[in-house]
Amino acid sequence: MSNRRKYARSAPGSIVLMLMLMLLFGLPVPIPAAPEPLASFLDRHCFECHDDTTKKGGLDLTAGWPDPATPDGFTRWLKIHDRVESGEMPPPKSKNRPDPAETAPFLAALARDLTAAEAARLDAANRTGLRRLTRAEYENTVRDLFDLPGLAVQNGLPADGSAHGFDKNSDALDISHVNLARYVEAADRTLDLAIATQPEPPTRQTVRLSLAGNYEPNIMLMQGDAVLLRDRAHDPVFPPAGKHAHINQGAHEQLGIFKRGSSVGVFRHEDESWNAYFRKFAALYPGRYRVRASLWSLWWEKGKILPARGVEAARLSVVQFNENGRGGQHPSYVLGYYDAPSLEPRVHEMEVWLNQKETIGFNTASLAPVVLYRVGTWGQVDRTMGFTGPCIVSDWLDIEGPLHVVWPPNSHRLLFGELPIREFRPADQPGVTPPRRRPLKQEIVSTDNKPEPLVGIWTVHSAAPDADLRQLLGTFLPRAFRRPVAAGVVEEYVALAKSRLEAGDSFEAAMRYACRAALCSPDFLYHVEPAGSLDGSGVAARLSYFLWNSMPDGELTALAAEDRLRDPTVRRAQVERLLKDPKAQRFIEDFLGQWLKLRAIAANDPDKKLYPEFSPYLQDSMVAETRAYFRELIERDLGAAYLVKSDFAMLNEKLAVHYGIPGVSGPAIRRVDLPPGSPRGGFLTQAALLKITANGTTTSPVPRGAFVMERLLGQKPEPPPPNVPAVEPDVQGTTTIRELLDKHRADAACAGCHAKIDPPGFALESFDVIGGQRDRYRALEKGDPAPRGSIDPKIGISFKLGPPVDASGQLPDGRTFVGIAEFQDHLSAEPQRLLANLARQFTIYATGRDLSFADRAALRDIVERAEARGGGIRTLIHEVVQSDLFLTR
């Protein structure tokens, strides 16, 4: 029985009348006293500090018993429950601490009331609200549905909100006319790509591209920031500039000097003013392409080509041109960082999906991100021939494709099965409007690749349109909707298509019309789950959207149809299969992007004066480390203590140098055993998280502490009280953040929360805004000269070393630490707490809803079962999937 009903029944009519009158005249309404055994416990242990005179922390418990059925009352009593349960209250120093025998009935009674209040508020059968696909889910779903793995539609959809830490919650997934308009566009774009419009596949061609001959690299060659090479020596036709600068770029281009297929050695890192793109190619036919690149490196010693300082890293990315290519371009995504070994070209091969107008970009990732080279420009003595430094060489880049294993492609077959593609002849189909075709043109002006001529309009042919529509839609709709579809629903879509046929559309256009409607329907856009226990399709969808962030594949769908996903053994096997599949990387990226806020990695750029060594390569390496580490935890089923402390790290050379760990060469991320005493490895000290929790200029223990509490320990700090000014950092080097915070904490209103929030942040003061370990703060004005350390010699240093870092602190329970190592020891000693939080995060992510007070028992059960099986992260995922929380809507 809810408290609300309890009070209603116990209140005589006269009291109700009096209360109504008091409300009417604006008089204070007395709140009923707490029922037993709560009242006596509060009286004995709480009123001393929380009565109407002391009101510690602004809390007066003698003022009455706010109804737990109200949101405010529920929140207040929940807080009291949790503080007492954790032992935080009554405070440890209190003379009148209750013993467990006294606390237990208090907590049990309070839990009963809270559970009852919650049960009345929540719809037990539909805990997960009806929620639409997130942007990422939408894109992955259409990619998998149509077998178009590089289809890019996500950026065209409005951004999703976030609730309870993730964008998968129905609270965050609102929908508006803007969404609907964009869904129509996305469906059209998908169908444009999915439908084959020619009888044979486009010819597979291989083009060999050189960096030379492209607009930006030509400028770099003329300026001397790059050189032409042949057979690992100077290209005699275009020798490096020495006494004389090269003049008249146009004259060189007219003579074809940059089009001879020479290798290009680049001395300069990309920046706002220059990027190197292979502009002679821009994809015309979206699809899979095989890309091969020959890369190596050298050390340039005033014109001499010597062995490189190690394995350099070259970045290749996919770049999309705007308009006709003159208006600019933007990197779509990084393909990867590739070894450029010393003096030995290495050919890297990868399969890439290219959309229209996309090409490949190149960057000398491991070179210093500075613009001080300009070795060939005017006024520099001996120009390139006088320069000494590292150089990364691109011999050539081959693009082969489009690669079609079958024709028509799978995307087309999903829609039209085995119907033949024939030329549309108006005479054969009087009164039928031919399907619309936009002539394929190469719009990018700098390119050499052109479309193949295609004569006529080619489209699918159906001899029995009604039967074909019924059969094709009967196959398509269940795949698109991720569950069985009733015959009546199929008939509705068939009727839609037939209406277009009757209006004179071609079979292709009619089918497209029906499919577009399906892709814009709630059945496709929403996770449609039955109330209560999930059926087979519901479990299949939860599994695949949890671990692939996408729709179920054929095997899951078949198991759902046979109703075998209720079998725990089958579910276990499926979790193993899904986690081993490359698509599990989507889960890792999406989950970490939100749980650890990796999506915000580029939210700020570190100050260039304070952190001149920062580069995009370092940032991408940070993200790669965190993802690889999480994958390692899952694959090896490592325990929760590894979240904060580890004896290994996932590093490449860039990060290893950043962390001061020797013996790592090249850009590939790999498992590295850490030297004794190294604080690296766990999430807590990974550069990505340290950057995300800083502001680009300074660090503050407050946001970092709050991040650790909320994301790793599962204790969301209270929001700051209103009208409290933020603590402004001092980059001049006069005052440390700890000194500033000490003043802040002198305010009693702030001290309580900061005693909990600040300690993790204090421990992390050993790390700067880009995750480098430090003993002293960097400052711009006052301080001592800074040693170069591992910073590239080409990078100028202007920052100074300011006050020393104090990374010591005290946890709320009284345990102290002098630095990060002891803090890690404290946290890793509580693996259950870490595991419980991760279980909570997994469950919220997988079910699309927040966990209620009543779910705590189920969550505890998940954690206990995981612990009983070793407490590994993969085991935890299994236990989440086996739980009622996961299997119930």
């Binding site: 036709v237 020798p239 006494k243 600068a245 003049i247 008249n248 004259a251």
Partner: protein, 193 residues
Amino acid sequence: MTPSFRIRFPAGFALAALWLTSFGIPSAAEQTETYRVVGFSHPEREEDFRQALATLPGIVLVGLDLAAAEVTLRFDPEQLVSGAKPGQPVAPEKILEELDKRLGQASVRTFTLTPRSPVPNADLATESIPVGLLDCKGCRYGVYLAVARLEGVVRASVSSETGLLTVWFDPKKTARPALEEALKKARVESPAN
């Protein structure tokens, strides 16, 4: 002019003449004309010119005088110029325009045909300007371009051996200061640093 220029030219011309007599007499409609060529910045450009011309059907190289930067070509005007009427003469400027267009396309506009200079060789002035030892073909061509199209300049040549740009020009129309100014505008370092 470099010594190799002087030696190579007469031999090339003689060979071309021999080729002509060996392989036939021009048809009645064919015409042979000599033009000035802009683009011979240095001796290695002869090969570029020959390669470009070899891609043009119906235009035969009769003679090439690198020293004078002149070429003699044989062609059928009726075949060359679209719209030409059979048996009727084609205007010389139309022929030159078409030949220049085709040669320009074949050489990425690095060679241009113009009418022969009306100024006799004996009346031309010569200036040699130090431009440095340019070992880059593109830069030699760039230096050449800086002066080649100036009014009064008949021909020019850049030597990577002497580091000199030599210019032959009509002294009534231009002079050394104008040449130096043009080089400065083109960012050619003179004297070399």
